[in-house]
Symmetry: C2
């Protein structure tokens, strides 16, 4: 198949997608060309549209097609609370709980010294500026409970407290619906430590 420069270029291009290796990329390329060429054109168009029109909300850093995203522009949201998440997906997860009515800040990543990602690579400075606007009273750190997410939360907590802000972190504990027998020991230890009187 040495004459298939366009096909090979497509396979190499698809390998840029996260989690897609040589085999998956070949499978995707063959599938699209054989069974869904129209879909291939739709994907191409959607990629071009998204790259040209999606940008970051100047207030919360999430993806939006306007200057300010709909959440930030909503006057009914509680302007005194700011929930800090790693990604737009995390924001969607919190939003789906319907138990938070404040605003968000999306870091678009975590700090990771091992991978060379420092405060300038994620939205740390815009967050500090955003949180110091005089309206925000509490910052809720909702980064993931992974090593990197925890380190990021710790770093942000210190920086935000230095600015006189009240900072909280999502509660660690036993997941709803789970049986203690199957919960990992670290989680049970945290749940014991953070126990609340009833």
């Amino acid at each position: 198949m040495q004459d298939n420069t366009a096909l090979n270029a497509l396979i190499q291009a698809l390998r840029r997608l996260p989690g897609v290796g040589q085999r998956s990329a070949s499978r995707m390329a063959f599938y699209l060309l054989q069974h869904d060429p129209q879909g291939a054109m739709i994907i191409a168009q959607a990629l071009q549209n998204a790259v040209s029109s999606v940008r970051h909300c100047v207030l919360c850093n999430t993806f939006t097609e306007s200057k300010i995203c709909m959440t930030c522009a909503d006057p009914l949201r509680d302007q005194t609370r700011l929930c800090v998440v790693e990604t737009p997906s995390d924001q969607t997860a919190v939003e789906r709980t319907a138990s938070y009515k404040g605003l968000y800040f999306v870091l678009m990543g975590t700090l990771s010294p091992l991978q060379g990602r420092g405060p300038n690579d994620i939205g740390v400075h815009p967050l500090l500026e955003r949180a110091s606007n005089g309206q925000v009273q509490e910052v809720i750190l909702a980064t993931n409970f992974t090593a990197e997410g925890e380190a990021t939360a710790h770093f942000l907590s210190e920086a935000l407290k230095r600015r006189g802000l009240s900072v909280s972190r999502l509660a660690r504990g036993v997941p709803v619906g789970s049986e203690l027998e199957y919960v990992d020991l670290g989680t049970i230890a945290h749940a014991l430590f953070d126990r609340r009187s009833t």
Copy 2:
């Protein structure tokens, strides 16, 4: 994120890729927009190029950008043997063994009554025509050893024999480098049945 029509359109478009669900599609879209917008444009361009320039070889049905693919156009290949495979990936696998110098025919699928794929949905008729050109003496069936691949091989074998062609199938047996203890029983049974005198 109701204002993100371009982003949502991209996520929906990426779900058309085989093996990609809502979560993977979101992850791909966020990754491309955040970390590799240039890659997104490269993928879009590659998709458009491939769809517009890749077609099927008129002789062997594989993907090519010419009328006849390089393998079929190669005068040094043995014109009397035709190896039938399901996909271009399978053709590449056989080709990499460097132990076959004949020509190929790529079905681009298998028969599958359950999924409604009959002889007209894969390249059965072009194959029969191709194999009856007077030059081909032996057809080697190299479809996969799955239920669908076996059924396809059986169907093709009958049809090709009716046309007076010599038909063979890849040998079933114990994989090279494997230990009997860990080989499934069906494979050992086939290897016993197809045993060869040394």
